[in-house]
Subunit: 748 residues, 2 copies
């Protein structure tokens, strides 16, 4: 059997071997609850040695290979004591041997796999507290109760319960006998809270349903002795499934077919190796991140060693408690991989599509196949480059062909579509689309609120933000440690000066190398760019370092008070760019444990605090680690500043004050992060893209044969003296170019 | 014969009637040189009365129609005196009668139609000055000289010559016998300057070719007695036409076909009326703007009365004189309409395409047909909205279908692709793509420069900016004057407060109406939006004004010193948003006359200075015009502040510090301006888009039959106990929804 590539996802057999190895570690006095099992990626140093050999073509059977490792995350429940530990075991798959185990601290909460969310239902059904709360309301006939479990959000400082879940409660109109009738249109103003360990509802929070009070917040209602409150008297359906829509479907939208009759231009090889138009990468997939690109190369030159979505926080801006706890960390609390949709041909992607499957785990550690969680296809994105020679009217036009790696994830009410797009001009684009159903709560009918928008009668869509972090591990034209650098470039106005800038039109392009871990903010008025450069290779044409550039998108950062609960939990969302020193396994912008966090721990903020640096001093020798010289016995030297490869984190987002148009399902809001070659190549890498005319395109006439400009034109063309001119030839000269001699130039 | 719609472009007959009417105004002592002839759009008040009736369905033969007018721009040359006047005549096409004539001031220079640029060649050939300058250089054998005429740029204060042209000079390698061999790779460091009136080269500027001097600028060379300087000794070709490329074309890029076997979903009617998916508009086309959208409606509700590209300035940042004069105004100095490419099926657009033609003029006023200058087609832009119900696994996914109105323009070396995109979710996107060949000058080989990047040996691509202005005339759900308002909305952090914001997660959404003409800058850190609202209609769901929102793109503004030559000429580029009071015919962000301007005149800056206001005072009465009360006899009351409909101008751009990858033709740099409904509709307008599965899509297998994950999965699926699970079902519960009674709720 072939040895898998070090970046190949676990095979089913490997997955099971990892599980079996862990199970054997524990005796009958414990039971295990598996959360995730996946490839434990090799340490960067080992990986790049292997990749270097692979790309050099020097790979042999005797080339040292990184250990083939898996990692399992699981709870250990000690049967007698009911004591629970959250553990992570790294397993050597060749030896079926645990080589490392980490046990989480008592306040470190794992994210929720779907099967853990499920217990919330039963707890509510059994709960007298929940029943008492529901008794305060009267629902219309045929309505049933539906609950969306949510992560509990940030803890109050005095809340020391170990693991909680909360639920948003809705009613569903059962009269249409359709299980997909949209319950989000009928929010019930309570939030039950469950202790996960005991599986009991410990509290039901009542929610305020008015607008804002004049002075201070409207108090949330307490348990009520008043007459039960009738709900949804004037509500109306918020349906989106076609058979329940309040309007007919469009009948005049004709199909657009995208076909590749000669096949695709991409090839998918074993071990998830993808090749397309000089690009080459390996597709990874993890429970937390979903799709990940590894070892992204163009023309066998590495660019990025790894690129992935690292975190997404969604803080809500409604100040009325307990809404401060509506702050999801959609990777840390849930996981994009676990939430990935099974994509459908002809729905999620059009054209000629390759699908990737992945294995996730069930609670017993069995691999479960997640079908078609990533799709891969080519697409045409309009004109790629064009030039018309106005002297000859010769136009050369090529198309911008792209390869798209796409995932769609569902997080309860909401959807994200994320894609890595590569193009023939060497560009890398991370595209994020937000769609799905906005999170809503009840509002008294007829009221409006400063905390959101009324999107249907009685339904308040609260203002919120989505703030993403992407992690980029550069390997700019070299895998060698220390070769990749980060620099910042700005375009800066320069005052007029009679000597150096007489007309005031000069602007200065300033560049500085990032020498030490830091954060940066987008500065569009300085056109601030982040360059990923090779510190040792210069572009042979320009003499400047070979590199790629990323323009930090200038999107709004976290609005919540930075010292408040949401702000402390998401320090990564305080800045647009973080540059940190590489450490193996450090993949999480907001830290590994986001669930019920009170403060970001081990995220980019802490990484910067270590003070890692990226550049040797001028003499070429490694700097002394200043921290080591301090008498700071409490600090682990490992954690302190050291010379490292830089990791770039790009933070961007969307402030989403909902529109009525976002209801009941919102049209996509699209966001792009662009990473573009900047003196990486010695000319436009898309220069060799053929400018073939597409033969399947057709001309559409107009006007059903009536008299019109088109017809008039047809006549006029036949008339003598009418010139069919190229409007582009706006500088067309009467004669040919001038021979050098004609204009007095010497000729060699 | 049918009466044309008031917004229909001139027919050929109307065009000729306009020309004939103007010609008849002048006797044999004058000769005319026509620059442009096109529809003179009706005054806004007359137009909207007509449109209101048209959309109400009350249009009859007796409905008052705006006068059908044309405008002709032309030079009048008085044969005897050679005196030249630039005149604009507005002609009543029914009466064949001039109703208005404007004569430009002596310093107001019209833009260049292509046929005017052409005279530059002859002037150089005849010029001894030019020959003397060329004698300073030795060109390699077989090289010919090629000249790109350019607008002269801004005048020095003491330069009072009336009309000038400058030229960038290059050499073309004739040895390959290909007229499309790329001359831009061989820049010659001189700029000849022509007096257009005398058609004589009056000066040849020598260009500096070194890097920057340490102290002050390297002086430009003067005429030289030294030995002629050999050029291009180490240069290399910069070819882009496929037959001359230095590398083979890619052979592995398989076609992507986009077909609509059941036809398109759009219809083009006479008089350029387009209907598609509830959208409706009329396509206009002017010599200066190219494609324009008029009367843009959704479901028969108006949104924008007119939207167009208004100006584009391209200032270069090289401080060495005379490069401060490299500042094109691509609409005012040239014209997007005149520069429009004749689009090619299967090259510029893929799929099922409708093309629009237009008439431009030749110098004698004859209509010349510009074929296929605008293309119209539908495209698929990925997922439009999606939601998966995690309880049932039911996914509903629709596609984001778009209608694209696209033009491509060539301005000497450079190309722009601009498109108006409408989508099924009510969105309007203005897409701009920059491509073509960057403007280059000579640099001594081996040198580098702070003023640009060396993109080929001896070739310096200078740093520059492209700053666009788009003009938007709103008619938000009403044509009535005074109904459309502009408001500014921001999302603002709010400090934590024990009473009103206990956890600090609240943020305030602040909105204010723009009451008076003003400018604004993008403020992404406040998420600043501009809302186009109806002052009188509220959304029935949210209670907020019906509207559309535009997010001003936070792109870098003009870097040049604002009091310097380039800065004074392009005041519109000092701010991202201008809100001005409507005046008929005021279409130009940098003013009507940009060519050789020394200062922006009649542009958005001046419009704001008038102090127009948009909102009646609180008592509902018109405010007194404060300016009228001043004893300012010099001001024309017509020009002063008055109650007006607001016009919105959006300014955005691209700071372009060239990459080596931009050579020899740059890959597109894409920019979007998004205009989205914001409480205009009462739900997602794309809700009724069918979620049909596209039947032409196919699955692509992988790996050429080798053992792989796909194959492994196929096996594992058959195994007992393996669950094929929907990874999206991450919160899937074990049971059905809870009946209301189960959880204690009362039932009506």
């Amino acid at each position: 059997m072939a040895v898998p590539h070090p970046l190949a996802p676990l095979s089913k057999a490997e997955f099971e071997r990892a599980r079996d190895t862990v199970v054997k570690l524990y005796g009958p006095d414990s039971s295990l609850f598996f959360r995730s099992i996946y490839l434990h990626e090799p340490p960067r140093a080992d990986l790049v040695s292997f990749l270097q050999a692979e790309h050099d073509g020097t790979l042999t059977d005797s080339t040292p290979r990184p250990l083939r490792l898996a990692v399992a995350h699981y709870d250990v429940i000690h049967t007698a004591t009911k004591h629970l530990e959250y553990a992570q075991s790294v397993v050597d798959l060749n030896l079926s041997w645990e080589i490392e185990r980490r046990v989480a601290g008592p306040r470190d909460q794992a994210g929720y796999p779907p099967f853990e969310f499920a217990i919330f239902y039963d707890a509510c059904v059994k709960s007298s507290l929940f029943k008492e709360a529901m008794a305060e309301f009267v629902l219309p006939e045929h309505f049933t109760v539906t609950i969306d479990p949510w992560p509990y959000g940030g803890l109050d400082p005095d809340d020391d319960r170990p693991r909680l879940l909360q639920g948003l409660v809705y009613a569903r109109d059962g009269s249409n006998n359709n299980p997909d009738s949209n319950h989000y249109g009928f929010p019930i103003p309570i939030i039950p809270v469950m202790d996960v360990a005991t599986k009991e509802i410990i509290r039901v929070d009542r929610l305020a349903t008015g607008g804002a009070a004049q002075d201070g917040l409207e108090p949330a209602p307490r348990e009520s002795d008043a007459k039960p409150k009738p709900l949804f008297l004037n509500s109306r359906p918020s349906e989106y499934v076609p058979e329940l829509l309040d309007r007919p479907l469009r009948t005049d939208m004709k199909p657009i077919n995208i076909t590749q009759p000669e096949g695709t231009s991409f090839t998918v090889h074993p071990d998830n190796l993808v090749e397309w138009q000089k690009w080459r990468f390996r597709l990874g997939f993890t429970p937390r991140e979903g799709a990940v690109l590894h070892d992204l190369c163009y023309d066998n030159r590495p660019i990025l060693l790894r690129v992935s979505y690292s975190e997404l926080t969604v803080p809500y801006g409604d100040p009325r408690p307990p809404f401060q706890r509506k702050q999801a960390f959609d990777l840390g609390d849930g996981g994009f991989g676990r939430a990935a949709n099974n994509l459908e041909l002809g729905c999620d992607c059009l054209g000629a599509i390759h699908y990737f499957d992945a294995y996730l785990t069930d609670p017993r550690g069995n691999p479960t196949l997640a079908k078609s969680v990533v799709c891969l296809h080519e697409q045409d994105n309009g004109i790629g480059w064009k030039h018309t020679n106005f002297r000859t009217d010769r136009a050369v036009v090529t198309r911008l062909r792209e390869l798209v790696v796409q995932c769609v994830v569902t997080l309860a009410n909401y959807e994200y579509i994320f894609a890595y797009k590569l193009d023939v001009a060497g560009g890398i684009t991370l595209e994020t689309r937000a769609t799905g159903i906005v999170s809503v709560v009840a509002i008294d009918e007829g009221k409006r609120s400063p905390y959101g928008n009324v999107v249907a009668p009685g339904v308040l869509a609260q203002n919120h933000q989505h703030i993403f972090a992407v992690r980029i591990d550069p390997a700019v034209d070299s895998y060698a440690a220390g070769d990749s650098r980060v620099a910042v470039e700005e375009s800066v106005p320069v005052a007029a000066d009679p000597e150096t800038n007489p007309y005031g039109n000069y602007y200065e392009v300033r560049k500085r190398t990032v020498e030490k871990a830091c954060w940066l903010d987008a500065e569009p008025m300085l056109n601030r760019l982040v360059r990923l450069e090779n510190a040792r290779k210069k572009n042979e044409v320009s003499g400047r370092p070979v590199g790629y550039k990323l323009t930090p998108p200038p999107t709004q950062l976290l609005l919540a008070d930075r010292n408040g609960l949401q702000g402390r939990r998401a320090k990564f969302a305080h800045h647009h760019v973080w540059v940190t020193g590489h450490r193996d396994g450090e993949l999480w912008a907001a830290g590994e444990f986001t669930n019920q966090s009170t403060e970001e721990k081990g995220g980019v903020y802490d990484m910067v605090q270590r003070g890692d640096w990226f550049v040797d001093d001028e003499e070429g020798e490694q700097r002394v680690n200043k921290d080591d010289e301090d008498e700071d016995g409490g600090k682990n030297a490992e954690e302190q500043g050291r010379l490292s490869s830089p990791i770039l984190w790009s933070v961007f987002g969307l402030t989403h004050n909902p529109r009525v148009e976002d209801w009941p399902v919102m049209p996509v809001e699209v966001h792009h992060v662009n990473i573009r070659p900047a003196d990486f190549f010695t000319s436009n890498p898309a220069l060799d893209v053929p400018s073939f005319k597409n033969k399947a395109s057709v001309i559409v006439p107009c006007c059903g044969g009536r008299q019109d400009l088109k017809a008039a034109n047809a006549n006029s063309e036949a008339e003598e003296g009418t010139v069919q001119r190229d409007a582009a030839a706006h500088m067309q000269g009467p004669g040919p170019d001038l021979a050098a001699g004609d204009v007095g130039a010497h000729v060699k």
